[in-house]
Amino acid sequence: MFEFLTSKFEDLFYRIRNKGKLSKDDLDSSLKEIKLALLEADVNFKVVKEFLENVKQKAIGRNILKSITPFQQIVKIVNEELINMLGVTGSSKISFAPKTATIIMMVGLQGSGKTTAVVKLANLIKNEYKKKVSIIASDIYRPAAVPQLRDMAKKIDVDVFFEENSDPVSISCNGVETFRKSGSDVIIIDTAGRLHIDKIMMDELVNTRKRVKPHQIFLVLDAMTGQDAVNIASQFNLKIEYDGIILTKLDSDARGGAVLSTYYATKKPVRFISTGEKIEDFGIFYPDRMASRILGMGDILTLVEKAEKVIDKRKAEEIEEKIYRSELNFEDFISQLKQVKKIGSIEKVFSMMPIMNKNKIFRNLNLDDSMLDKIEAIINSMTLEERRKPNIIDGSRKRRIASGSGTSTGEVNRLLKQFAKTKQMMKQFKNFGNKPGFPFGKLN
C-alpha cells in the first residue's frame, strides 16, 4: 500500500539527502514535486494546497535554508504534516458499551466493500477482543447481497439476522432485539450501498439510526476514490454523523489519497484499513505508522506485532542461539522461512522494513512469493543429512536435488552460495560482539 507515494518521496529525498544546503529553488522544486505526487495519488486538491502551505511556512519558520541538515529537517516537517493530515493519534482503540451490546452500523456507497468490511471487522472483534459478534443484513435492495453476507459470515462462524419481506429499519430493530436476547456482545449492521445525494435512501439511514441508536457508525470508503472522496465523506457526515472511516481495497497499488483527504475535510479519523482479499487483511489504522511508511521509513511496529502473533517464540530463540554459535543449517532456515511466510506475502513484509529506496530495490530484485516457494522446494528435496551439513552436497547431489524440486542446478547453487554468505555474515556480526538476529529472531 502507498507504494506510489512512497517511491515518489523516496526519489525526492534521495536527491536532496546529501545536500549540505538547500537553496530556495531546491525547496520550491521539491514542493512542486510533492504537489504532483500527492495529486497523482488522489489527495484532494484543496488538501494538497494547504499541506504545501503548511510545509512551506514551517520550512521558513525553522530556517531550513540555513540549516546544515536540511534533509533531516524537511523529512521531519513533511512527516509532521502527514501525521496532521492523517488524523489524531490515540483514537485507535475500539470502545465497547459497558452494560449492553455494542451496536455498530456500517454505511457507504455501492461497491465500496461494505459487506466484506463488516465480516472482517466482525472477525477482528471476535478474535482480538474475544467478544460474541453477530451481524444484521439490512440490504434488501442489491440482488444476492444477503446470501453473499451469509456465505462469508459462515466462514468465521458468526450469526446473521435477516427477515424476508421487511424493510431495513424493522430488520435492524428486530435483529438488535434478537441478538441482545441471545447474548451478543457486539452487533454489526450491514446497510445497503447508497449515493450520498439520494435523499430517500439517506433518510432511511437516519431513521435506522434514530430507532437503533448505534454506539458507533463507520463510513466505508474505497481507497481508490478520486477527488470526490472529500465530498462523499462530508455529505455522509452531514446527514448521518459517523464516528470514523474504514478504508477498503488498500492493496498494494491503491494510491490511497483518500486517506490523506477525508480527515482534513470531516475531522473524522480513519479507524480501520482493509488491505487484501483475505479475512485477516484488516487492521486498526495508526496515522503515525502510516506517515512513516509513506515516507519510506517503514513500519517496524506493525511488522513486529504481526510477527509476534504468528511466530513461535521458543523456536525463534533456539534459532537465534544457533546463529550465535554459527551452527545455522538448512533445517533452521526453512523453519524461519515458514514463519516469515505466516506474516504475509514477502512483498508485504518488505514494505514494512525501514530500508531507503526499497521500492526501487524491490522492483529490481523481482522478489516474490514464488521465489520463496522455490527455495522451500529445494530444501525439501534435500536429505536430512544434507540439510544439516550443506557442505556434503556435491555435483551429483545437486543434480538430484534440482530434479527433485523441479529447479535447475544453477538455482540450487545459488541458494547454497547465498546460504554460505549468510552464515559468513552472521559470523562477522558475532565477531563484532553484538548478538546477531534475523529480522524475526528476537521478539522481546
Binding site: L36, L39, E40, A41, D42, N44, F45, L109, Q110, G111, S112, G113, R142, P143, A144, A145, P147, Q148, D151, M152, L195, H196, I197, D222, M224, T225, G226, Q227, D228, A229, N231, I232, Q235, K249, D251, S252, D253, A254, R255, G257, A258, E277
Partner: protein
C-alpha cells in the same frame, strides 16, 4: 462537474484582471474532477496558447475551446458503437475489479439489446465470488433471459465454452460474459481472463467482438492503472463508465483515452435497468463544462 460552467463565468468575472489566477482556478477545477495533472496541463496548455495568441477575452469562446480540447482527446464525433460480427453470436467480454458495478452494467446492456429485438445469452463466468450467480440470475430471471452457469469454483473457461456452443446451436445474437472481479493485481485472475479469451477464439475463430473494462466514475487516478493492467493482459476495446449519477463524473477517462487510447463506449447513470447509454463525447464534454 456540473458546477464548472457557473464557476467558469464566476472565475472569469472575478479574475479578469489577473489571468494567472483564472488559469490556476481552472486547473483546480479540472483536477477536482479527477482529470490527471498531466492531462489538465495538456488541455489548458493548448487553450491558453490560443487565448493569448488571439488575445481572446470572451469567456464563451474559451468555453468552446475547452470543449473542443476535451472532445479532441475523446476523438469522438458521433455516439460510440459496439463492434458486432456478421456471423452471430457477437461476443462481449466484460472485465473489471470488484465493486465497480460490472454485473448491473451487464444486465443493463442485455436489456438494451433485448429491447431492440435481439436474442441475448449471458455467461456467468464469475465462479469465484460468493453469490455471484444468484446476483446475475436475479437479473436474467427478471428480464426473461437465458443464463449459462456452473457450480461455484468451477472453471470459468468451461462456462464460456458451454455458452458459445449454446449460442451457436440456439442461434443467439449476442453473448455477454460476466467475469470475476478482483483486484487487477491478482495474477490468477488475469490468467483466468486470458483463458476465457482463448476459449472464445478457439470456438469462434475470432476474439471477442468487444473486451470492455468497467470503470467506476468515482475512482481516481487508480482507474488508469486498472485499465492499463487489463489492457496489457487482454487488449481492451473500450470502457463502460458506471455510476455517473453520483457527484463525480469520471474525468479520469480523459487520461485513459489520452494515454492508453482506450475509448469510452458506454455509460450508466442510475439504478434502473434502462439507465445505460452509448457514450456521446459531445454530451460528455458538455456535462464536464456545464
Amino acid at each position: 462537474m456540473k458546477k464548472l460552467i457557473k464557476n467558469l463565468n464566476y472565475l472569469w468575472n472575478k479574475f479578469k484582471k489577473n489571468n494567472i489566477q483564472f488559469w490556476d482556478s481552472l486547473e483546480e477545477q479540472l483536477i477536482l474532477n479527477d482529470v490527471s495533472a498531466s492531462t489538465t496541463k495538456r488541455i489548458l496548455g493548448k487553450v491558453k496558447n490560443y487565448v493569448y495568441r488571439e488575445s481572446i477575452d470572451d469567456i464563451e469562446i474559451i468555453k468552446d475551446l475547452l470543449k473542443k480540447q476535451i472532445m479532441e482527446i475523446l476523438d469522438g464525433k458521433n455516439k460510440a458503437i459496439l463492434s458486432t460480427s456478421k456471423t452471430p453470436p457477437s461476443v462481449f467480454l466484460i472485465v473489471g475489479i470488484n465493486g465497480v458495478g460490472k454485473t448491473s452494467a451487464i444486465a443493463k446492456m442485455a436489456k438494451l439489446f433485448c429491447d431492440s429485438g435481439e436474442k441475448v445469452l449471458i455467461a456467468a463466468a464469475d465462479t469465484y465470488r460468493a453469490a455471484a450467480v444468484e446476483q446475475i440470475k436475479h437479473y436474467t430471471d427478471k428480464l426473461g433471459l437465458e443464463l449459462v452457469y456452473h457450480q461455484r469454483f468451477s472453471d470459468p473457461g468451461a462456462v464460456v465454452y458451454d455458452s458459445i456452443k449454446k449460442a451457436i446451436t440456439k442461434k443467439f445474437d449476442k453473448v455477454i460474459i460476466d467475469t470475476a472481479g478482483r483486484m487487477q493485481t491478482s495474477h490468477n485472475l488475469m490468467e483466468e481472463l486470458k483463458k476465457i479469451k482463448r476459449v472464445v477464439n478457439k470456438n469462434l475463430n475470432r476474439d471477442p467482438d468487444e473486451i470492455l473494462v468497467v470503470i467506476d466514475s468515482t475512482t481516481g487516478q487508480n482507474a488508469k492503472f486498472q485499465a492499463e493492467t487489463f489492457n496489457n493482459a487482454l487488449g481492451l476495446t473500450g470502457i463502460i463508465l458506471t455510476k455517473t449519477d453520483g457527484t463525480s463524473k469520471g474525468g479520469i477517462v480523459l487520461t485513459i483515452k489520452n494515454d492508453l487510447g482506450i475509448p469510452i463506449k458506454m455509460i450508466t447513470n442510475g439504478e434502473k435497468l434502462d439507465d445505460i447509454h452509448y457514450f456521446d463525447s459531445k454530451k460528455f464534454a458538455e456535462t464536464m463544462l456545464s
